[in-house]
Symmetry: C2
Subunit: 206 residues, 2 copies
């Protein structure tokens, strides 16, 4: 699953590849154990055992037990792909293209893992709470790259509003998508972003 993280790049050294493999293994085994026994009933030590690392190493990769679920392996890819979009595209247009690229090129097991993460986060109150923080973090991150493309500052009012709207569409899609598959989720997200890009024309003329 982790070879996805290395495609089309100068190929990092052995150390970096090992680290990526360990991180992926920890998350995979964690999600599997959570599915089999439940989130609370699974201990960090068990995850570390399954991934064949020491418990201390677990915390070197994920600061808390929650983070092993919250961490999105596709995030770095999305970020990179977004920055590579042609300058002619609008921010929302660039994001839509980015999502099509990254999710379109992702193998099925990666998408399945995204579904599992989403469902688990939704089901466990502790994780759902933390997700709010993640959304806030996403906004700041996204604001930076949007600002860079637009030649504005990240705290620019328009940048902030746009970023808020985009993340808002993401939240709304996520909340209304419990249990549905990644393909559904992505389609609805894209539709929502299309609406946003066009200024919600279908809502103006009833």
């Amino acid at each position: 699953m982790d070879q996805l993280l290395e495609t089309d790049r100068p190929r990092p050294g052995l150390r970096e590849r090992k680290k990526a493999r360990t991180r992926a293994a920890l998350q995979e085994h964690a999600l599997r154990l959570f599915r089999e026994r439940g989130y609370e009933a699974t201990t960090v030590d068990e995850i570390a055992d399954a991934a064949e690392v020491s418990p201390s190493t677990f915390f070197r990769y994920f600061p808390t037990k929650e983070d092993v679920v919250l961490y999105d392996a596709l995030d770095p890819l999305l970020l990179e792909a977004f920055e590579a979009q042609p300058a002619g595209l609008s921010p929302v247009g660039a994001l839509r293209a980015t999502m099509r690229e990254v999710f379109g090129g992702a193998p099925a097991d990666v998408l399945a893992q995204q579904d599992e993460r989403a469902a688990l986060i939704f089901a466990v109150p502790e994780l759902r709470m933390r997700m709010l923080d993640e959304f806030a973090r996403s906004m700041l991150l996204f604001a930076d790259v949007v600002a860079k493309r637009a030649g504005r500052r990240p705290d620019d009012l328009a940048v902030r509003a746009l970023v808020g709207a985009v993340v808002g569409v993401g939240i709304a899609t996520w909340v209304n998508a419990r249990g549905s598959q990644a393909s559904d989720y992505l389609r609805r997200m894209d539709e929502g972003l299309a609406e946003l890009e066009a200024g919600f024309p279908t809502l103006s003329r009833p």
Copy 2:
């Protein structure tokens, strides 16, 4: 401070009074220690020591360390006073009267403790997160009593909307009130509820 909890009532037995006193002592000492040393730097054992009970007893009164801050000693009084309001009043009117009664009759140290709780919850991310749950819980509770007064079901659409609006006014007031005193907070909350009760007339005619 806890005699407030016993005014004008058939007077519960010794056991109940002791329990109320222990609960109040735990919360008082906890808030004091948090103020002096900070929330994280204070341990539950220290709170228990200060209140002269065993650590296990602490957890019998408050299921988590967070709850000793979140617990609002005035809640039961508010509930009782609300249910005693004359049936002629609208739900919002009854709530305003309730708040005037309860907070108006509360001694200064109780109000000061409310301020301290509000500031602490706002300052500690962990508590701020949990506060969302508390708001949700408040809505359900409030929906029950409003429904009872109105002769409707708690999941009635109008009941839900009203309850949501009221709690929303509370949140907005709280968020905009960092550091201000209880009297300010209560005044603004009452103004907000008045606006709500009247349908926000000042916003309709610019």
